[in-house]
């Protein structure tokens, strides 16, 4: 078996192992409702961390607006689900919601990629930040309603929609979408996570993946070797946006009210996801999943500390970062624990 294949199988194994363990605990009644409530958010943050790692670690472009794609995926799918809530049965509707969320996010990724990917480094990071904010703010200004005559749209207020009596307001400006069905569960979350891991890991090991990493390492050399830089950059960015969209679908179907506000889709959240990626190891897909799980659980597990928990959380974050990545500490760890290292950095290049 090839080294790479084995590595990938280990990643799937960890995810499936965690899933089986949690299911066992849940079925034997050992899982509190607090933990159960955390499971789905963990999966969607792990999914978006994988998406961002594709962009940051494999493509080598720093994006700090990825929650914008999550936002688009969340809104488009919740819109679809709310409109068709009564007309399509749950199973196929949720599947269609996923397809819609992913396609819309991918389309936005593609459109935004066109101007953004001409830039490099810091400039690109700043523009992605701006786009993330634009998506969020534009969505917060939309009023969309549906009645028997079709879809009504306004950017002023819900009363300007001029809905008939049978109509209902779907997106209500800053109030977002409320009352969309809650279909996400842990099993679906894990399936989505596995699919996105499968897509990303196979992409990395493919011809396209090698081209993308060649661009990351030296775009001039890659271009000189006949690699179509724009095409492969767009490919990685669009796939990354699509996966972020899938995490948005999980998000909006886990919670009944979606608002395009900063605490869910702002740059703070994008940076939080970036923290998952950096802490898990840039380019290390498995690390992203583990880091997202630990870092999302941590503040919730510290609830007993009351108002000190955010302080403790920050300190733990700093300590983890040092323990994982400081060369001195890594050296010390190697001396002390032999050759076993926990935060092993996988060289993907």
């Amino acid at each position: 078996m090839k080294k790479q294949t084995k590595d990938n199988l280990i990643t799937y194994g960890i995810v499936i192992g965690a899933f089986v363990l949690v299911q066992l605990l849940a079925n034997t009644g050992h899982l509190s409702s607090h933990m159960k409530g955390l499971l789905v958010p963990v999966t969607y943050y792990a999914v978006i961390a994988v998406a961002l790692n594709l962009c940051v670690g494999i493509l080598g472009e720093l994006s700090i607006g990825h929650c914008g794609f999550m936002c688009v995926g969340a809104f488009s799918s919740a819109f679809f689900s709310k409109v068709t809530q009564d007309s399509i049965p749950t199973g196929p509707r949720f599947l269609l919601a996923f397809i819609i969320g992913i396609l819309v996010a991918a389309a936005f990724g593609f459109l935004i990629g066109i101007p953004v990917l001409r830039l490099k480094g810091d400039y690109l990071a700043i523009v992605t930040l701006a786009f993330g904010e634009i998506i969020k703010n534009v969505l917060a200004a939309f009023y969309v309603g549906v009645d028997s005559k079709g879809v009504h749209f306004s950017m002023k207020s819900a009363s300007d929609l001029g809905l008939l009596d049978d109509g209902k307001v779907i997106i209500n400006g800053a109030m977002g979408i409320t009352g969309s069905p809650q279909n996400s569960n842990f099993t679906i979350g894990i399936v989505v996570l596995l699919i996105s891991l499968f897509v990303v890991q196979n992409l990395i090991n493919s011809r396209q993946g090698r081209a993308i990493m060649a661009i990351r390492d030296n775009s001039i050399a890659a271009e000189a070797s006949g690699i179509n830089v724009t095409k492969y950059k767009m490919m990685a960015f669009t796939i990354s946006a699509a996966i972020a969209g899938a995490s948005g679908v999980l998000f909006s179907h886990n919670i009944s009210s979606v608002t395009a506000s900063s605490q869910y889709f702002g740059y703070n959240v994008s940076i939080l996801v970036l923290v998952y990626v950096v802490l898990g190891g840039i380019g290390n897909i498995r690390g992203s999943v583990i880091a997202a799980t630990i870092l999302y659980m941590l503040p919730e597990m510290l609830r007993f500390l009351n108002k000190y928990r955010m302080l403790i959380y920050s300190i733990v974050l700093i300590v983890m970062m040092i323990v994982n990545w400081s060369p001195k500490i890594i050296e010390w760890r190697k001396r002390t624990f032999g050759k076993i290292s926990i935060g092993r950095r996988k060289e993907t290049a």
């Binding site: 960890i14 933990m35 955390l38 703010n137 583990i290 659980m297 609830r303 955010m310």
Partner: protein
Amino acid sequence: MKKFNKFVSAVLTSVMVASMVAGCADATSTGGGSAEGAGSDGAKVFKIGAIGPLTGGAAAYGNAVVNGAEIAVEEINAAGGINGYQIEYKKEDDECDAQKSVNAYNTLKDWGMQFLVGSTTSACSIAVSENTKADNMFQLTPSGSAVECVQYDNAFRVCFSDPSQGLASAQYIAEHKLATKIGIIYDSSDVYSTGVYQTFVDEAGRQGLEIVSSEAFTQDNNTDFTVQLQKAKDAGADLLFLPFYYKDASLVLTQASTMDYHPTIFGVDGLDGILTVENFDTSLAEGVMLLTPFAADATDDLTVNFVKKYQEKYGEVPNQFAADAYDAVYVIKAAIEKAGATPDQSVSDLCEALKGAMTQIEVAGLTSAKMTWDASGEPNKEPKAVVIKDGAYVSAD
């Protein structure tokens, strides 16, 4: 050797993850066990939980709610509890984030909560109501004012709903002929503000009020209001309707005064607290009218007592959020007494009992001398219009 190392590291990683999940599960499962214990052997206490943003930008509101509720709980316990049973009280932080609010709710559920006072903010309250509905737990939000907060029959609220505030404001302005040309500034990124704004505009149309300018801002650009103010001034608005929170409003007033623009200012309950803003020249707030259920300097015994206790304990003047939460705990007390409920009943039975009792009780609290509820969950109480005169609230009528 390399393969072996890889294997070892993989095993260790999975053990680490597994132990983490297992560790969490263990810790919380014991918590769950003790909660069950309290439910069965402890026909001793009622458990009330409160949720609000205790950290972050909206912390002022969440802290007011949990503090207000805490004072009420202490008072009731000191006076012998409800039907002779003491109350146990626990608060959880939601950071003004709907997902975290659901997490906080689940934490409280594991603790054994029987009644929920929360969530503090509308979006969180809506998200949590999906879960309380599923568990059939009695939910009374002190300050979740969006319509959907009480869409389920197990959810009630203490504050006015957004539409009722917009409606009442427009009717009040029309009835008292305060102005003919109205300018509005509202926060388009805020559910509360847009909710009030929409019904105000609708009702103003019916009341024959002319809205000459309506300008929006968001929480990302809430420091400079000169553009919005200039538009209102140019349009000749003689009354400015400000349906948002007092911190932003203090800036609006300051900037209006530097522009030499002095319209009548009319606000809703979010404006309550404007006199407490630091470095704000309160003389600018002279003549500001607002609809509020609570004024900290009212002279009735209940308010005086509450404000005194709150100041002693937390060192600040309580706002309407604290008052709503204080009332919420007393409302739960009244409903339990009416239903004759006991702590050994299941959460669902308690909810059913209280649902019925809520429509029959009549409570006198800080925010109204007489509050009643109907099955929709909306409170019936009169909004009070006050005007600020010499740095204090005076009844406007």
